[in-house]
Assembly symmetry: C2
């Protein structure tokens, strides 16, 4: 591995803490991912990406910046990468998946804040996220109360925090607000980058993001096969890398992986034995390196065949129509695409339940594990009605509420094993 110390130092990272973090992450990655059996060869690319997630990829960002491109960071799927690409910017997801420096985070945030938000602050205050430090703009969004109010506190800590306002209902006024906000964001990007968004540049941005989504959708479809050709851990990893990697290279790598997996399916090969209990996960997003729940599930005689999550199908299932000759027309199609997202912050949110049912059927999932991040009010509030509706439709559902710590791992494992047994007996 190359020596990135100089780069990290110039980004203002706390080198000692950062080294410690990388060492923990590297060893966790080895234990969780590299120890898996029958992994597809195509996962080697993602192993490499992960091994260089704070190295080569950051170097690429710095090179892009040196060439005059802007780096735009975000914490949510409501920030349109299409627009960022249209000003030749680089879009990156920001670090929020690890329990790092929560003591620091709790000095500025309430203790009853979800781990995802605490993690973002822990990384910032601990100076260990090179993505965040490389950003020209950090984009927040008014999704949940926790994030909405946390951005007020994050603002003074970062170079340029920009917040996109969001609707709360799927009304015509809500749609108009979203479009207005995307128009305002486009102007912001034009101002920061010094580049004008043209119909051509925007169409190109849409094309690149659509291709990336199409590749991940192709992967999602292949996972319907029995035996599962890829583990849930690896499936999630691809969805996580979606937010960090160069989009064209990522698309190419996912498609190569899919070629291999389709070949596996033809040959009846899988990562698990045929008939292994199949579950899907639904709920809160799992950012890198939040692999806790899938690891517990896949070490309990089950395989995860899909994720109904923002880091999963909720984040990628809609493509953006590339229809229209003006930026205004394209802003309409972009708005339409993002307006469809059925995050639990919206009320009411019936399409999410419908989609979970549809996914379970398509993927032949025998049960659904609902993942609620502790203190995430929208998803945890919605999980009751989701469970009720799924059970009514004959889909066994297990509701779990957890955080990033390992303290409850034993207890969760017991509940997951009991659930898998319930599914086996069906």
């Amino acid at each position: 591995m190359a020596d990135y110390t100089k780069m990290w130092s110039e980004l203002g990272l706390d080198l000692k803490s950062h080294d410690a973090l990388l060492s923990i992450l590297g060893s966790a990655y080895g234990d969780i991912f590299l120890s898996q059996k029958n992994r597809p060869g195509g996962m080697k690319y993602f192993d490499f990406v992960m091994s260089e997630v704070h190295g080569l990829r950051i170097q690429e960002l710095m090179e892009a910046k040196a060439q005059g491109r802007i780096v735009v960071g975000s914490y949510c799927v409501f920030v349109p990468e299409e627009l960022i690409l249209a000003v030749n910017g680089v879009s990156v997801g920001l670090c929020a998946g690890a329990e790092f420096n929560f003591e620091g985070a709790e000095e500025v945030l309430p203790r009853n804040t979800c781990a995802l938000i605490k993690s973002a602050f822990g990384f910032k205050l601990g100076k260990v996220c090179p993505y965040l430090e490389a950003c020209d703009v950090v984009v927040g969004e008014n999704t949940c109360d926790g994030k909405k109010k946390a951005y007020e506190i994050l603002g003074p800590m970062v170079k340029d925090l920009y917040v996109i306002d969001l609707h709360q209902t799927k009304s015509e006024m809500g749609r108009a607000l979203l479009k207005e906000e995307y128009r305002r964001f486009a102007t912001k990007l034009e101002n920061v980058s010094g580049r004008k968004i043209t119909p051509e540049s925007l169409k190109k941005g849409i094309e690149i993001v659509n291709a990336k989504r199409a590749a991940v959708k192709r992967l999602a479809a292949i996972r319907a096969a029995d035996p599962a050709p890829i583990s849930g851990l690896d499936g999630l990893l691809v969805n996580q890398v979606f937010f960090y990697d160069d989009p064209i290279r990522f698309t190419d790598s996912v498609n190569k992986l899919c070629d291999e997996l389709e070949d596996r399916v033809k040959k009846g090969m899988g990562v698990v034995a045929p008939g292994t209990t199949r579950v899907m996960v639904s709920g809160c997003p799992m950012a890198v390196p939040n692999w806790k729940l899938p690891m517990l599930i896949e070490s309990s005689n089950a395989v995860i065949v899909g994720e109904e999550s923002c880091v999963g199908e909720r984040g990628t299932r809609w493509l953006t129509e590339s229809k229209g000759d003006t930026v205004e027309d394209l802003l309409d199609t972009i708005t339409e695409r993002y307006f469809s997202i059925d995050c639990a912050v919206f009320t009411p949110n019936p399409s999410r339940i419908d989609y979970v049912k549809e996914m379970a059927k398509r993927l032949s999932a025998q049960g659904v594990i609902h993942y609620g991040l502790q203190f995430c009010q929208p998803y945890i509030m919605e999980s009751g009605p989701v469970e009720k509706e799924l059970e009514k439709s004959g889909i066994p559902t297990l509701r779990l509420e957890t955080d990033y710590s390992q303290e409850d791992a034993g207890q969760l494992k017991t509940r997951i094993e009991a659930f898998v047994e319930r599914l086996e007996k069906k």
Copy 2:
């Protein structure tokens, strides 16, 4: 006291639980309110109202219904009473201030839900809120995540749940959304009541609500005097009764109380000795019978001189302009009035901090106690920046986070006493 058993039974109340509740409330009221010294004679009216809060007042609602008037219940100051009065309806605040049947509430809500929301469900599921049962329409609003998602669960439990969507930022689009929502609510009220809103009926509604607010503002102003002419408990009680009582009778009673208090001030009389430590409370609303914190504060050698809360000045400080000749014009002034409210759900929310400072100065409050209801993310998130800004301005601030239980009362009292000592030493 009259026998209301038949009425309660017809409303579908669980008579046994309801009797138990009333008995506890009655005895708590005696202990907390009637035991106070030097109370103004004008509080007798409010004692009477409270003694008949589930009796005579409900009978009045039933009589109003028999005369064809509709009863509209709500849980938030964003539901315009002006519009309800314009269709000759009766507006009532709904029960959400007591720890009642939380076990029942936790069967349908996450445990990590604030006590106010749990209370609303506990009352509904336990069948002990005659206000809720008397309602023709229950109005929710998309303020915080907790309430927004809880209304989805409450919907099937009540006769007619109607939800008002709200903005999240004070933008032009936010203002347009609010107006559109109030227009939609006006139509809803017209449909349910069978009455048309006219400029005259709406002006009359505005006039009645403004008079009520003006009376409470008059009371708030008088509390600037030293010695305080009225206790914080009684001041809060008036603000609580604001939501339940007949508005015209209430206004008259508050003004009579103010006459008496002004006379007290002239004579230098108070409920406490001159120089008693003065604090104000800022934060989450306290619905009847949530008197826990004021009771702890006022039994700790301090007097509360004001409430920066939705049950307090945040709920009443703005009047509605009665300007314009059409319903559309008046909807504009109503929107303008409610758009000013600086609830912590908005981002950013700087006017709230400015107002807390202004209030502290006007009321000669020596310190601010910030009341955060556990799991209320907006206020608890905002409390950090509020404390920081107030302390910077030389206003000592104590941040408390609590719920409706009495378990932490001893610990809170210790912290409050230490805070009062800090203020005494200044």
